[in-house]
């Protein structure tokens, strides 16, 4: 029986806590009597037979959808869309959930005699996936059956011929969607719900639409009013995505399949990363020392390669299929079963140790903008109710924050960092002054469509992602980061956690209360 997450009040007997620091980790002792550490629940037991569970879900859908076989007939146009490489994190060991589900759907389609089947990687404005990434996600069997004939495509949000305008929502939001999806008799969407932000209508209204649609929910206003991104009923981003998704559902029949994973992110060699420090046995301590020593000897590039090669032993904990909203409700309930930790009250300071990977640097570099997005966008938003830190509190991030960018994956990030942030860090000002220029830049558009680059507007979304945290906290300190890079983003660099805590006292007073959110493993704080 896996143990639930819990909050440890730090006292003098508490051993040092492990804090992630990019491609590495540190042991830090937190001030006694005024600090607490939030520990994640242990990984839930996986489904004993995921393939059988998938088939059961397809045959017993939720909501008003009939069983999937009844939606399939010869001569129909079937489109299967699936989440891109940003999920899950770290990438999971084969077989990926998407492979299992797509194979099950294709088995039923083959039984029904459906010939016209197209698979779409729902990239949204993310970079295109490489062949290896596609093979990893959907499996060689599916790839080899569809890719050679051009039936496996990647969504292109800038292809004028490949998009169709379906109309506007009541609030004037454009709904421009992939043409193949609009012209399909059935869209089957295959999702992996790693965090509560994913899934539901957001899958289609982000992954299969154009910049013209995405801009309605990915903007400073929605993100500042999403409290939090992980709590859909209180997220303005999701409200907009839901309106757009509902309009899409009026035109296209959508059969949503969502899966959840347990938070087992590291294999046996790195098991200590999942364990509470006082439970580290001899093997864990030896692994930690060996890993720490070994990583010191490696160059940053080698460290990055090593960490990027880590595959998570995530396993499926639930699968549900049918009507989008009903499915998503069930998915969120299952996700909460794994991730929710109850936390009492806010603190003056919150500490996030940022790992080596986020949704947008799979096989890539965690550049300063992605550090900001991961810390202030994702980790800060991992709450239900209230943020872990009080209004006016201080956020401390731990990450090397190198001034380094992947020139192929993140070309527009470089210009954003050099040009935009040099003039202002105010999200609203940035949006007003620069967004359109980057979003419509022909060179970025070309790179997005033909190379492996994120869309020109993507770095803006990274910045907006942290807009709520920027507004809520009085300052952000980054421990161990590149000083120039940290200052460029308007944050304060600190060489040690002790220094960072002293700097925080300037904002919140002496002896502040501290929360250390020990993530990963993934969790969601329910703050009373």
């Amino acid at each position: 029986m896996p143990r639930p997450g819990f909050v440890l009040e730090v006292d003098r007997s508490t051993p040092p806590a492990l804090i992630w620091h990019g491609e590495g980790f540190r042991l830090e002792r937190l001030p006694a009597e005024r600090s607490r550490i939030v520990y994640a629940p242990e990984p839930l037991a996986p489904l004993p037979d995921p393939d059988a569970a998938i088939r059961t879900a397809l045959l017993n859908p939720l909501g008003d959808r009939p069983p999937l076989p009844q939606l399939l007939w010869p001569g129909m146009r079937l489109t299967i869309a699936f989440d891109d490489l940003s999920l899950p994190l770290p990438p999971m060991r084969r077989p990926d959930n998407r492979q299992r589900v797509i194979e099950a759907v294709l088995d039923l389609a083959a039984e029904a005699g459906v010939d016209d089947v197209v698979l779409i990687a729902a990239l949204g404005l993310h970079r295109r996936m490489t062949e290896a990434e596609l093979r990893h996600a959907i499996g060689d069997r599916v790839y080899d059956a569809f890719a050679p004939s051009g039936k496996l495509i990647q969504h292109d949000a800038e292809d004028p011929q490949g998009l169709v305008m379906l109309g506007q929502t009541d609030l004037g939001e454009d709904v421009e969607v992939n043409r193949r999806v609009a012209e399909s008799d059935l869209l089957v969407y295959v999702n992996i719900n790693l965090v509560a932000m994913d899934g539901g209508h957001k899958s289609t209204s982000t992954g299969l639409m154009s910049y013209k649609s995405v801009r309605h929910h990915h903007n400073v206003r929605t993100l500042q009013h999403s409290r939090s991104l992980m709590d859909r009923p209180h997220s303005e981003l999701h409200s907009s995505a839901w309106r757009i998704g509902r309009l899409l559902n009026q035109h296209v029949k959508v059969f949503q399949i969502e899966t959840t994973l347990n938070n087992d992110a590291f294999g046996s060699q790195l098991a200590f990363l999942q364990k509470r420090e006082w439970e580290w046995g001899l093997r864990d301590r030896a692994s930690f020392l060996a890993a720490s020593r070994g990583l010191e000897l490696l160059s940053p590039r080698a460290r990055r390669s090593l960490f990027q090669s880590v595959l998570a032993p995530h396993q499926m904990t639930s699968v549900q299929a049918g009507e989008v909203e009903m499915v998503h409700e069930a998915t969120i309930a299952n996700l909460h079963r794994q991730q929710v930790v109850d936390v009492e009250g806010q603190s003056d300071v919150v500490i996030f140790g940022l790992p080596h990977i986020g949704p947008y640097n799979v096989g890539s570099i965690m550049n300063p903008l992605l550090v900001m997005c991961l810390g202030l966008g994702y980790f800060f938003n991992m709450y239900i109710g209230k943020p872990l830190v009080r209004p006016g509190g201080v956020v401390i991030l731990s990450h090397p924050t190198p001034w380094a960018f992947h020139p192929v994956h993140h070309p527009s990030y470089i210009d954003f960092f050099e040009e935009v942030l040099a003039s202002t860090t105010d999200p609203a000002e940035i949006e007003k002054t620069y967004e359109e220029r980057f979003a419509t830049d022909d060179w970025y558009r070309h790179l997005y469509r033909t190379s492996y680059a994120y869309h020109g507007v993507h770095p803006f979304y990274m910045w907006y992602w942290g807009a709520h945290a920027l507004e809520h906290a009085s300052s952000t300190v980054i421990v161990g980061g590149n000083r120039r890079a940290v200052r460029r983003m308007g944050f304060r660099p600190a060489s040690s956690l002790a220094d960072a805590l002293e700097m925080a006292e300037d904002q919140v007073g002496r002896d502040p209360t501290i929360t250390y959110f020990r993530c990963p493993p993934l969790m969601l704080a329910r703050v009373e």
């Binding site: 040092p16 042991l27 006082w278």
Partner: protein
């Protein structure tokens, strides 16, 4: 922990403990356990290169007892209750290691080079009836009478090659698995797994059943322990239950003579001759409670056969006159008397005189 959301700067704290300046530097808060790597949180543990790092490690290893975390064991926070310690001995002893291939290989070598020569020298076994289960494929349950610690190694040493290294012995958890060294020895030499004999244990039963499912044969002593007085005891249901559950046959085994070489309570080992007689496989085609009686009767018939001859034993078995393994239902001294001279009195016993079963 909750804080005042409106507080923005340097409030006066009412709790005097919180004003302790030592707390502003976490490393200073506990100098007794100060760790050079932890005192400067900017530097990950073991950071630094070359001599300085090596010296620091040596200093830490030589001076800092108990070793600081993570070199040493971590503290257990006082606010976290410790889980009850699960005993790694007894019925919880994990024996999976003893069934891994390298260990199996080592045990096979040990059996051939040590167990068999020693048993041949000490017990001089005559083996009868291995042809009776030649046709059986897959795992079986060997059910034997039990009078001595020599029984398990003796049976394992005389099993046909096909079974010798693929048989697990079910050993008393409260006897063979009471210390790590003892458990290690018996797990290695006899491939023993612990079984609860003083009470019904679902765990040990399930484990034994799963071993059969994995293709392992079992050597089990249905009496539940060595004979306390030289006579057999009533059989328990374990062997029958396992046979009924797994659908695998039971092969009755009668071991004659080990009780005289190393009886219960004896610290001296005598040399002598033994006989191991294997019976015809008993299929689990009757309910377990009937199977218990059949196994018991089969072993008694083998005992009769070992003491007389096969045909006489068959005739007595057919007439229901097979002598009981449990001896006369009489007072202690008469039961002991019926056994004949003890091993210590062997010099006074005429050569060739049988002790048990009594001649009809």
């Amino acid at each position: 922990m909750s804080s005042n959301n409106t507080r923005t700067a340097n409030p006066a704290r009412s709790n005097p403990a919180r004003s302790n300046p030592a707390r502003s530097n976490p490393a200073r808060s506990n100098p007794a356990r100060s760790n050079p790597a932890l005192s400067n949180p900017a530097r990950p543990l073991g950071a630094g290169r070359g001599w300085a790092s090596a010296l620091r490690t040596v200093r830490r290893l030589s001076l800092g007892f108990p070793l600081p975390f993570p070199t040493g064991a971590p503290n257990w926070p006082t606010s976290v209750p410790r889980p009850p310690k699960r005993s790694a001995l007894g019925v919880d002893y994990e024996t999976a290691w003893a069934r891994r291939y390298p260990v199996r290989l080592a045990r096979a070598a040990y059996t051939e080079l040590v167990t068999r020569p020693v048993m041949a020298a000490v017990a001089q076994p005559s083996v009868v009836g291995t042809d009776r289960f030649e046709a059986v494929h897959g795992p079986v349950i060997f059910a034997a009478n039990h009078a001595s610690h020599l029984d398990a190694p003796l049976v394992l040493s005389v099993l046909p090659d096909r079974w010798r290294n693929k048989t697990v012995t079910l050993g008393a958890a409260d006897y063979f698995f009471t210390s790590h060294l003892r458990a290690l020895y018996f797990s290695f030499t006899t491939n023993a797994v612990p079984i609860e004999r003083v009470r019904v244990s679902r765990r040990s039963a399930q484990q034994a059943a799963s071993l059969i499912d994995q293709g392992w044969s079992l050597l089990i002593f249905p009496e539940g322990g060595r004979s306390p007085d030289g006579w057999a005891r009533e059989h328990r249901g374990g062997a029958a239950w396992l046979a009924a559950r797994s659908g695998r046959p039971v092969i009755p085994v009668y071991i004659k003579g080990t009780g005289r070489l190393l009886p219960r309570g004896s610290k001296r080992l005598y040399l002598g001759k033994t006989t191991v007689t294997f019976g015809t496989p008993i299929p689990p085609d009757v309910p377990a409670r009937h199977l218990v009686a059949r196994i018991e009767a089969a072993i008694a018939a083998l005992a009769d056969e070992a003491s007389t001859d096969w045909w006489s034993a068959r005739l007595r078995a057919a007439r229901g006159e097979t002598p009981s393994l449990m001896g006369p239902q009489a007072s202690e001294w008469r039961r002991a008397w019926a056994l004949g001279p003890s091993p210590k009195d062997r010099a006074r016993r005429p050569p060739g005189e049988r002790r048990w079963p009594p001649r009809p």
